[in-house]
């Protein structure tokens, strides 16, 4: 195990790995954003991920979410945990197959360093951000807003309002004629993951 650890992170900064291994990150929603975020954070060496999502994997998810044909029908958090464990034994994964509510929010995510909002519906995003910022105003939360469509890399940006960060183009809603596509969803997801890793280094766990 120790040899594997040294090999796995052989071309990584050991100081960074130490910090990331000591970090706990929550991911609210493991669809297109959350499944991509979880994979990048696992490869980076985050010590523990808390995943929450009530959905099961469907055929239509495979166009952009990090699941496989033989996982259709499984709870997403369980399927994602399997995929993450196939990547690395150095990230512990706690799966919660639950819809997040103001009531269960602190039970699920109370012990994390950073929360990543990767939910689908705007009203759910609002519920999570409002309640999280009220409960834990000092903890970072990284959300996404405006991910649909193709191309337009130049419109995707990060906005910071205190401890709240939002990544996306701020305009592209999923509606008739505008669809979430694999590449653009993964770009936003990995910008969220990239910012999370950077903030953890600044925090220096």
């Amino acid at each position: 195990m120790n040899d594997l650890f040294n090999d796995f992170f052989a071309n990584q900064n050991p100081e960074y790995i130490k910090i990331w291994q000591n970090s706990v990150v929550g991911i609210a929603g493991v669809g297109g954003l959350g499944s991509n975020i979880a994979i990048s954070l696992t490869r980076a060496g985050i010590g523990k991920l808390i995943l929450a999502d009530p959905d099961t994997v469907s055929n239509s998810n495979l166009s952009r979410q990090q699941y496989f044909l033989n996982q259709v029908g499984l709870p997403k958090v369980a399927a994602l945990k399997d995929n993450l464990m196939n990547i690395s034994p150095f990230t512990l994964v706690n799966p919660y197959p639950l819809k997040i509510t103001p009531v269960n929010l602190s039970m699920i995510f109370g012990k994390i360093d950073i929360l990543i909002e990767a939910l689908d519906d705007a009203d759910q995003k609002q519920m999570l951000i409002e309640n999280w910022q009220e409960l834990y105003p000092e903890k970072y939360i990284i959300g996404a807003s405006g991910i649909a469509g193709v191309g337009k890399n130049e419109l995707i940006h990060t906005e910071q309002i205190g401890t709240l960060f939002l990544i996306g183009d701020g305009i592209s809603e999923i509606e008739d004629g505008v669809y979430p596509t694999a590449a653009r969803v993964a770009v936003v997801a990995n910008m969220q993951a990239n910012l999370c890793l950077e903030l953890l280094l600044q925090k220096g766990n």
Partner: protein, 67 residues
């Protein structure tokens, strides 16, 4: 004249001004928003009652579905 700042834009402050008044005044019609006043979240249920103090820094953040 007392003022507040809304997404970087300075507007006159009025006695008893609420979040709802500000959204109407600014013509913000987005469906889903998060509001922060002086970096503290004001929840949607309080938009009609929360009184914005003079000099406040108000941020209106637009949330879009997709995840």
């Amino acid at each position: 004249m007392l003022t507040i700042t809304v997404n970087g834009q300075e507007i006159p402050w009025e006695e008893g001004m609420t979040i709802r008044n500000i959204l109407n005044k600014m013509n913000y019609s987005f469906r889903m928003l998060v509001i922060k006043v002086n970096d503290k979240v004001v929840k949607k249920e309080d938009w009609d009652s929360f009184q914005v103090p003079p000099g406040a820094d108000v941020k209106v953040i637009h949330l879009i579905s997709g995840g």
